[in-house]
C-alpha cells in the first residue's frame, strides 16, 4: 500500500458524504446501495463513520461528470479513465468524480459502480495506488462479485496505518494475493487448459505455460466472470475441449471463455450420492477417457463416453494411489498424474501404479 504524498488524512473520524447527481444508467436505489456498500468497505476496518447529507456541503461529494468538468482533469469518454478522486482536505478535497460516459452497472457487465467507488474512496481517505495486483487500490479495474467482495489485506493494513484499527472486538482480515514462489502456497484446484496449467487459489488463478518462464496472475473473473471464487476442483476433457469446474454441490462446464448454457448443475447429475456435498479434486485420464473424482479419502471413476459413474466405486484413495493422503488438487500431464496435498506434490505413474517422485507444490513456477 502507498500513502498519498504528504500523508493527508481527515482530522475527524465522523465524515459526511453527499451524492450530487445520479447516472441515468442505474436505478437511484442501486446507486445509493453501491455508495453505501463502498463506504462500508472502509468503515468496517477503521473507526471511520460516514453519514449521508442532503442539500449542504459534505466532506466527500460524489458526482457523475462529463469530459472537462472544471477540475483540470477532464474525462476521456468510454473506457480508459473511469473515475478519479481527491485527497482529504477542504473544498474539493475528498470528492469523487465518476466518468458519466462509462457503462455503470451493479453486476459483472460494464463497470461495477461499487468496485470503482470503493477504490476512489481509498483516495478520498488518503491512499495512493498499490502495486499489489490483488489490492483494491491497484490502479486497473477488475471485477469481483460484490456479494463476495472482501477488502484485501494490503488495503486493510494501509487504511489502518492512517486511521487505526476497527473498533470491533474481532479485527477483520482480508485475502492475501498469492505469490508463485511462496513456499507455503497451496491450491484449491488445478487443471490443464489447451496446453497450459491453471492453478486456482481464492479469487485468483496462476497461469503457467511450460514454454514460458514467468507465471501470470489473474482474477478468475477476468476470464469467467460468472464463476465464483474459491472453486474446489477442476479438470479438462481434452477430447471435448471443455473444462469442468466444481464448487460445493454444483459444477460448471466451460469452453474457452464461455460457461455453457444450463450450468451450474448439481453434482448428483454425475452420479454422486446425496451424502456428498463437495468434490476436492478431479483429473481426466486422456488415454482411457475416464475422470477421477476425489472426495475425502475416497475416489470415484466417471466414464465420459457413457456419461455415468463406473460400478464398484467409491474406492479408497490409498488402495489405488498409495499414501498421498487427501487430495486438494490434481491434474494429468504427459501421462503422469500430479496430486497436491497441502504444500506437497506427488507425481504418480498410472502405468506403474506407483508414486515416482515427491516435490514441493510450487515446483511448476521456476522459483
Amino acid at each position: 500500500y502507498v500513502f498519498t504524498p504528504g500523508n493527508p488524512k481527515w482530522k475527524r473520524n465522523n465524515l459526511t458524504y453527499r451524492i450530487l447527481n445520479y447516472t441515468p444508467k442505474m436505478r437511484r436505489a442501486d446507486v445509493d446501495e453501491a455508495v453505501r456498500k463502498a463506504l462500508s468497505v472502509w468503515s468496517n476496518v477503521t473507526p471511520l463513520t460516514f453519514q449521508k447529507v442532503e442539500d449542504k456541503e459534505a466532506d466527500i461529494m460524489i458526482s457523475f461528470a462529463y469530459r472537462d468538468h472544471q477540475d483540470n482533469s477532464p474525462f476521456d469518454g468510454p473506457n480508459g479513465q473511469l473515475a478519479h478522486a481527491f485527497q482529504p482536505g477542504e473544498g474539493i478535497g475528498g470528492d469523487v468524480h465518476m466518468d458519466e460516459e462509462e457503462d455503470w452497472t451493479k453486476g459483472g457487465k460494464g463497470y461495477n459502480l461499487f468496485i470503482v467507488l470503493a477504490h476512489e474512496l481509498g483516495h478520498s481517505l488518503g491512499l495512493s495506488h498499490s502495486n499489489d495486483p490483488g489490492a483494491l487500490m491497484y490502479p486497473t479495474y477488475s471485477y469481483t462479485d460484490p456479494n463476495e467482495f472482501l477488502l484485501p489485506q494490503d488495503d486493510i493494513e494501509g487504511i489502518q496505518a492512517i486511521y487505526g484499527q476497527s473498533t470491533s472486538a474481532v479485527q477483520p482480515t482480508g485475502p492475501v494475493t498469492p505469490e508463485a514462489c511462496d513456499p507455503n502456497l497451496t491450491f484449491d484446484a488445478i487443471t490443464t487448459l489447451r496446453g497450459e496449467i491453471f492453478f486456482f487459489k481464492g479469487r485468483y488463478m496462476l497461469r503457467k505455460h511450460t514454454a514460458r518462464t514467468e507465471t501470470e496472475l489473474n482474477f478468475i473473473s477476468l476470464f469467467w466472470p460468472r464463476l465464483p471464487s474459491g472453486i474446489q476442483a477442476a479438470y479438462e476433457n481434452i477430447e471435448t475441449d471443455e473444462i469442468t469446474i466444481f464448487k460445493e454441490d454444483k459444477y460448471w462446464v466451460i469452453r474457452g471463455y464461455d460457461v455453457l448454457p444450463g450450468y451450474p448443475k448439481p453434482i448428483y447429475r454425475l452420479g454422486f450420492p446425496k451424502t456428498i456435498k463437495r468434490v476436492n479434486a478431479a483429473y481426466n485420464d486422456e488415454t482411457t477417457g475416464k475422470t477421477y473424482f476425489f472426495v475425502a479419502d475416497r475416489y470415484w471413476r466417471y466414464d465420459e463416453k457413457k456419461k455415468s459413474m463406473d460400478h464398484g466405486y467409491p474406492k479408497k484413495i490409498v488402495s489405488s494411489f498409495g499414501k498421498i493422503g487427501r487430495v486438494d488438487a490434481a491434474f494429468q500431464k504427459d501421462g503422469y498424474v500430479y496430486f497436491f496435498h497441502g504444500t506437497t506434490q506427488f507425481q504418480f505413474d498410472p502405468r506403474a501404479k506407483r508414486i515416482v517422485q515427491q516435490m514441493k507444490s510450487t515446483s511448476w513456477f521456476n522459483c
Binding site: 504524498p5 477504490h119 495512493s128 479495474y141
Partner: protein, 82 residues
C-alpha cells in the same frame, strides 16, 4: 499512399504510450525542443518505472504486455507523485 497498417499501429501505440506516461507517470509534455544532455530518454525512463510498478518485464520498450496493461480501464489518479 495510404500508410501501411503496421506504421499506423506503431504511431497509435506511441501516442498511447506517451499520453499514458504523461497522465500517470509524470512524463513532462515537451512543448519546447531542448538540447538533449545525454542520459536516458525520459520516455524510456518513465516506461521502465511503469513496467516495474505493474510487475512487467522491465524492458523500457512498449512491448505487447506493456501495451496490453496500458489499454486496461483504470483509475484517473496518477501512479506516481506528480
Amino acid at each position: 499512399f495510404p500508410v501501411a497498417p503496421e506504421a499506423e499501429d506503431e504511431e497509435k501505440s506511441l501516442q498511447l504510450v506517451e499520453s499514458y506516461l504523461q497522465n500517470f507517470y509524470d512524463l513532462q509534455r515537451d512543448h519546447h525542443p531542448r538540447l538533449r544532455r545525454g542520459g536516458e530518454n525520459p520516455l524510456t525512463e518513465k516506461l521502465k518505472e511503469m513496467q516495474l510498478f505493474f510487475g512487467l518485464e522491465v524492458t523500457g520498450k512498449p512491448d505487447l504486455d506493456t501495451l496490453k496493461a496500458m489499454k486496461k480501464p483504470r483509475c484517473g489518479i496518477p501512479d506516481v507523485e506528480q
